[in-house]
């Protein structure tokens, strides 16, 4: 990032600055990532662990671009959020949904095995990054929990006392990614079926209001990740509950 240029600040309601400066060198370079482990998370999602020895390190919430190359030179590339916390050991993890007809996620779910090599470049974008400094209110649905889990893991690894809460929506307990890892910081919301005694239904104002009622000093930095429909819904709930629009960061699938 250049730091010699002043940046124009528009005379409009709010500006949403990035949380961190981004290394252009890391973003420009394709690196080989060797698959070392596959872990099933849910019937539709699995975690893929890669060795990337020269990985420059990332912050929770950042993503990367991954590419697969066919024998005829055909290339497919996709953006994926990084699931693992930064660990400086040269490993990263991605958790991928098996998208119907998805040529990249389809390869991962039906062909990939440890030892396979793909290419990645990143980490990318500082906007959705959480450096661990500000109280964080994380709201996700489905595989939208992936970058948020990187934040939760980072928070735990650092034994941080910065307030952090995760509100996560899944269709059912079986579809809740990282279910066994979620702790007291997490409130799950189930939209199709739930454990006995837990209501079934869409994320609502009643889920968001208590979190905004217990605002930490300085307020929450909100991170929303999921489909566009979910992101629209969740961000409206946040705004209605009083969260300032310039403290809401959104990452939508696509």
């Amino acid at each position: 990032m250049t730091d010699t240029l002043a940046t124009f600040t528009p005379p409009t309601r709010f500006a949403v600055p990035g949380r961190i400066a981004v290394s252009n060198r890391a973003a420009a370079l394709w690196q080989t990532a060797t698959l070392t482990e596959i872990r099933r998370e849910t019937p539709h999602a699995a975690t893929y662990r890669f060795a990337v020895p020269a990985w420059a390190g990332h912050l929770p919430g950042q993503h990367l671009m991954l590419r697969l190359t066919a024998e005829d030179g055909y290339v497919a590339q996709r953006h994926y959020s990084i699931a693992s916390a930064p660990d400086d050991e040269g490993y990263i993890e991605l958790t991928l949904d098996h998208v119907e007809g998805g040529e990249v996620s389809g390869w991962f779910h039906t062909v990939a095995r440890p030892g396979d090599q793909v290419e990645v470049r990143g980490p990318l974008s500082g906007f959705f990054a959480w450096p661990g400094d500000r109280p964080a209110l994380l709201i996700g649905a489905g595989s939208g929990v992936v970058p948020l889990m990187s934040m939760v893991r980072h928070h735990r690894a650092r034994r941080s006392d910065v307030p952090l809460r995760l509100l996560v929506s899944a269709r059912s307990p079986e579809e809740l990614i990282y279910a066994s890892e979620l702790g007291a910081e997490t409130t799950p919301v189930f939209t199709r079926s739930a454990p006995p005694g837990v209501p079934v239904g869409r994320m609502a104002a009643a889920h968001v209001a208590p979190l905004l009622a217990e605002q930490p000093e300085g307020g929450w930095e909100a991170y929303v990740c999921g489909s566009n429909a979910f992101a629209e819904h969740a961000s409206r709930l946040l705004v209605a509950a009083g969260q300032p629009v310039d403290r809401i960061r959104i990452e939508r699938f696509g």
Binding site: M1, T2, L5, T7, F8, P10, P11, T12, R13, A15, V16, P17, G18, V22, S23, N24, R25, A27, A28, T32, M65, L68, T69, A70, E71, D72, G73, Y74, V75, A76, Q77, R78, H79, E103, W107, V111, A112, D116, Q117, V118, E119, R121, S125, G126, F127, F128, N228, E232, S235, R236, L238, V239, V245, D246, I248, R249, I250, E251, R252, G254
Partner: protein
């Protein structure tokens, strides 16, 4: 070339309109805005062009619609790698606005900004000559808010993050200033045909 074992990919599309590394999203039109979709009605919408111009000017909805209409029919390309073919946007060519404000000789770049505060930078040359629009219709219908309605910038020959949603104005400059994604590692120009995705590409 690092071939991925067992990867064949989807059926090859020999489409001369598909830039390198892109795929045809078909009927999908993903929404990727990083901020909350604003509730902005046409009555509240304004569009201003100022900076290095002879006559800074703000248009409201009615005034902008009084300019000669113009249509873009063609393709759009998102940096996340989807492209969408055969879209049809209606609005006004940016030339019509620039003809009124008259950029000064020293003008080289533009920061486009949204009613949300989103910014993106472009060379002025990419916004002139019938290659950029203020668009308020898609497929003959009002542009929806999640796609940037009531009106967005449309610069279809560059990656689509340059086509700022909820467009509020252009600041004309004599130098380049990185916008929102450009400060976050994305390319200053974003030409899909040269795969200018990230800074350094």
């Amino acid at each position: 070339m690092n071939v991925t074992r067992g990867f064949t990919g989807r059926a090859r599309v020999h489409n001369a309109g598909l830039p390198p590394g892109q795929y045809d999203a078909g009927d999908d039109w993903p929404v990727l805005s990083a901020e909350v979709t604003p509730e902005l009605s046409p009555a509240d919408w304004t569009f201003r062009v100022d900076g290095l111009v002879e006559e800074p000017r703000t248009w409201d909805w009615k005034e902008a619609h009084a300019l000669p209409g113009s249509v873009y029919e063609g393709d759009i390309h998102c940096v996340t790698s989807w492209s969408k073919f055969g879209v049809r946007f209606g609005g006004v060519s940016l030339d019509a606005f620039l003809d009124v404000v008259r950029p000064q000789a020293a003008a080289t770049h533009v920061v486009a900004y949204s009613h949300t505060g989103y910014t993106t930078n472009l060379p002025l040359a990419d916004l002139t000559g019938g290659r950029a629009w203020i668009a308020w219709e898609f497929d003959g219908k009002p542009l929806s808010s999640e796609h940037g309605g009531p009106a967005r910038l449309l610069v279809p020959h560059l990656y689509f993050w340059k086509s700022a949603k909820w467009i509020a104005g252009l600041r004309i400059l004599d130098h380049d200033e990185p916008g929102f994604w450009e400060q976050n590692g994305y390319h200053a120009r974003g030409n899909p045909w040269e795969e200018q995705r990230y800074s350094g590409d």
